[in-house]
Amino acid sequence: MVKRLLQILILLPFLLCLSTCDLITALFSMSPFPGYLAQTVATTDMKAPVTEFLGDDYIHWESDVYVLRNPGGREAVFLVVRRDPGGQTVYAFDTSLNLEISQKVDNHNRLHLIEATTGDFVVGDVRFSEGPLPEDPLVVDSTPYPGLGMDFWDRQTFAYSGRNYAVWSSFDWLYCDEYNDSWVWLSPTGGASIDQGEERRLVGLGYEPDFSTYEDPILGAGITPVYLFVFGWDDSGWDEGFLYIIRTAAGEYPNPSYSIDLVADGLPTGKCSPKIRNVEDRYPVFYTRKGVVASTRTRGTFQLLQLDGQRIKNFYITSDDDDETSFDFDINGEYYYLFNENNLRLYKAATGF
C-alpha cells in the first residue's frame, strides 16, 4: 500500500509533464521568494548613495525605475529616488548596472522620455546627454529641464517629430497637450473620448519609434504607433479590473482621429482590443516588442499579452507591494530592471519572453 502510494507520488509530476508542460513549468518555478531573484543577471547595491541622499529627516520616500532607449540604440536605466519633504535624485546606469552619474534636483518630477530633437534622455528635471564616444558615460546638463515647474505624475509622455506630448485621462476622456522641443505649449489641449460615459484610466503608454521594423499591421506601414493602455473596473459586482489596448498613430496627436471614441470606433477595426480580463492596476502596464505586460489579479503574477489582447503567458515577478518595488521593462522585452526599496538593491532580470 505504502509502496504503491509512493510510486504514484513520484510518478505524478512526470505524468502531468507529459500532458501540460506549461503547468509543470509554472508549478516548479513557484516560490515564496520573489521571482526576479532567479531571473537576476546583475545587481548593484544602492544602500550607500540612497541612504546618504535620504538622510534622516524625511517622512516618506519612494522610487521609480525607467528604461529608455534613444534613436542611436543606446539604452540607459534610471533610478529616481524621491523624498518627502525634499527633492529627488536621478541615478543613471548603463545596462550592466554600472552607475554612470547621478543628479539631485530640488523638486519632484516623473517625466521620462527621449528628448524630441536631440535624442537626449530626459528623466525628472534632468537631461542626460551622451558623451563623445558611445562608451562614454552620460553627461548631465545642469540646467533644469524642461523648466515647466510641473510634475508629470499623472501623465504619459512621448516625443515625436520634434514635438513633445503629454497624455492623461479623466473619467471617460483622453487629454493631450502638445509642446515644441523647448516645451512651449503649442495648442489648446486636445484629446478624444475613451469610452463614453464610463470611467476609464490611462495606466500606460507604449511608443514604438522603430515603425519600419515593428510595423503595426492594423495601423499600416509608415505609421509610428502609440499604444494606449486603458484600465477599467467591471460592473459585475466582482470588482474585476480589465484592460483595453488601443492603437493610435503618433502623427494624429493631440487629437487622435476617432469619430465617436477610442473603444467604440476601435473595436470593429481591431484598433482596440477586446476587454482583457484578470487585470490589476497595482502596477503600470508596460510596452515591449515581445508584448504588453500587465499585472494579473494573482498577486505578483504578470501576463504577457499580444496587442490584440491574446494572452501569451503568465510569469511571476514578486508579491511585494508596489510601494516596496518599482520596475520597468526594456523596449525589446529581454530584461526588466527592478529596485527593491527594502534592501536598496537594483536588479537586472531576464524576462524569458
Partner: protein
C-alpha cells in the same frame, strides 16, 4: 490433558462467568427434596504437572461440602460406569458436554465440574454447576489465589459461594442461546498479554496464539479484550462471538515510535526536498523536530539559480486521536531561518528569520510509515542585516498558506 496457554486464564472471567450463569434463573425455590448430584473430579489444566495434589484436595473438599449441604451425591461407581461406556476420559469431565453425557444417564439433576491451573504459583480455580436435565449452566464461581496455605480457605470459600446459588434455582429455564465452547486468539504479537475486563489478565500470546479458558460466553455476544506488550501502545479490541468455536485474529499492536524520519516536498519549493527528524517527547504524541529543506529557485528560462536552505525547529503534537487511528491531525509550531545564496557572483548571503506560526497536517498512519499533507503558515520577522522578506506572511501563492507540503515519515 494439558492445555498450553490456558494459564491463569479465568482471572476476570468470574464476573462474566457469573453473568453467563443467568441461565440459572434467580428465582426463589421452595423445593425440599435434595438434588441428585454428580460431583466430578477436579481437572488440572496447568501447563506443568507440578501440582497434581490439588486435584484430590479440591475434589474431596467439594464433595464433602456438598454432602454436608444436603445434596444427594450420586456414587462415583454409578456414573463412572456410564463414563466408560460413553468413552469419556476423566480429564474431559470439566467440559459441559462431557459431564452432561455422563450425569443425565446417571439420573443426576445437577452436574458439578471443577478445574484449576497453577502457573507461577498462582492458582486459578473454577467450579461450575449444570442442570443435567436441561443441559444449562446453573451457577459458577471463579477464584484466584497464591499457592500457599490459604488455598484451602479459597477452596472452601468457592464451594460456599456456589451452594447458595444452586439452592436458589427454580424449575430450570430452557436454554435460549447456546454458549461458545472454545475461543482461540491468534496474533503476530508474540508475548502480548491479554486482559478481559478491567483487571483480568488471562494469558499471553505464545506460539502465535492463546486459547481462552472454557468460559461460557453466550453465542452472539461481544467481549472486549485489552492487549498489552512492552514498548507497544496498548490496544482494545471488541470481538463478536459468532461461532461455538472461534479462531479470532487480533489486530496487531502499534509499536511506540520514539523518533521518525521525514522526507517531504513542498509546493513553491519543488526543485528540492526536505529532511526532518522527529524526536517524540511522548511516543507518537508530542515531539520536537529539526528540519532542513533545500531547494533551488529557477524559472527555466534565461535564469540563474538561487539556492535556499530552510532550517527550522518545530514543536508539535497530535489532536483528537491516538496512535492506533488511521487518520490523525497534527499541529506544530516553531522558528526557522532561510539561508539564501546566488549562483550569480557578488551577491550577499541572505538570512530570513521566521516564525512558523502553525502547521496543520492530516496524516495517514500506517504501522511503520506516515503519509501526510501539511499546510504551513510562516511569518517573516524581517530582522537581520541581510534579509529578503520584510515583516509579514510568507506565501508561495501570493496569499494564503506559505506552502502545502507532501511527505512521508518512517517511524523508528
Amino acid at each position: 490433558m494439558k492445555y498450553r496457554g490456558t494459564t491463569l486464564i479465568a482471572v476476570t472471567c468470574g464476573l462474566l462467568f457469573l453473568s453467563a450463569a443467568m441461565l440459572g434463573a434467580q428465582v426463589k425455590n421452595d423445593r425440599t427434596k435434595p438434588y441428585k448430584t454428580c460431583v466430578f473430579p477436579t481437572v488440572d489444566l496447568s501447563t506443568t504437572e507440578d501440582n497434581p495434589e490439588y486435584q484430590q484436595i479440591i475434589s474431596d473438599q467439594l464433595h464433602e461440602e456438598l454432602k454436608i449441604a444436603g445434596f444427594d451425591i450420586i456414587p462415583r461407581e454409578k456414573w463412572d460406569a456410564i463414563r466408560k461406556q460413553q468413552g469419556i476420559r476423566p480429564a474431559q469431565l470439566y467440559r459441559a458436554d462431557s459431564a452432561l453425557k455422563v450425569a443425565e444417564p446417571a439420573g443426576a439433576e445437577l452436574a458439578i465440574v471443577s478445574f484449576y491451573s497453577i502457573e507461577d504459583r498462582q492458582l486459578v480455580l473454577e467450579i461450575k454447576c449444570y442442570d443435567a436435565v436441561q443441559g444449562a449452566l446453573v451457577a459458577g464461581v471463579f477464584k484466584t489465589a497464591r499457592v500457599n496455605l490459604s488455598v484451602y480457605n479459597v477452596i472452601a470459600g468457592a464451594v460456599s459461594e456456589l451452594i447458595p446459588e444452586i439452592r436458589l434455582i427454580g424449575p430450570p429455564p430452557r436454554i435460549e442461546s447456546p454458549v461458545v465452547e472454545r475461543i482461540a486468539l491468534v496474533s503476530e504479537d508474540e508475548d502480548m498479554a491479554i486482559y478481559l475486563g478491567e483487571e483480568g489478565y488471562i494469558g499471553r500470546i505464545s506460539g502465535g496464539k492463546l486459547l481462552l479458558p472454557p468460559i461460557p460466553f453466550a453465542l452472539g455476544s461481544e467481549i472486549t479484550v485489552e492487549k498489552r506488550k512492552e514498548d507497544y501502545h496498548p490496544g482494545v479490541e471488541t470481538l463478536k462471538l459468532k461461532e461455538p468455536e472461534m479462531l479470532i485474529k487480533l489486530k496487531p499492536l502499534r509499536k511506540k515510535a520514539h523518533t521518525a524520519t521525514e522526507l517531504n516536498w513542498s509546493i513553491g519549493q519543488l526543485l528540492g526536498f526536505g529532511l526532518a527528524q522527529r524526536f517524540y517527547l511522548k511516543p507518537d504524541s508530542s515531539y520536537l523536530a529539526a528540519e532542513h529543506y533545500f531547494y533551488v529557485q529557477h524559472n527555466f528560462s534565461d535564469s540563474k539559480p538561487v539556492f535556499h536552505h530552510d532550517l527550522r525547529i518545530l514543536f508539535g503534537g497530535y489532536l483528537f486521536s491516538g496512535p492506533h487511528a488511521t487518520l490523525r491531525l497534527n499541529v506544530s509550531t516553531g522558528f526557522g531561518m532561510i539561508v539564501t545564496y546566488f549562483w550569480l557572483k557578488g551577491q550577499p548571503v541572505y538570512g530570513d528569520y521566521y516564525w512558523d506560526v502553525v502547521n496543520s497536517s492530516f496524516e495517514v498512519n500506517f504501522r511503520r510509515f506516515i503519509l501526510y499533507i501539511r499546510s504551513e503558515q510562516k511569518y517573516a520577522l524581517g530582522i537581520g542585516s541581510d534579509h529578503i522578506f520584510e515583516r509579514g506572511w510568507i506565501s508561495a501563492f501570493g496569499e494564503g498558506p506559505s506552502t502545502i507540503t507532501f511527505g512521508v515519515a518512517r517511524k523508528w
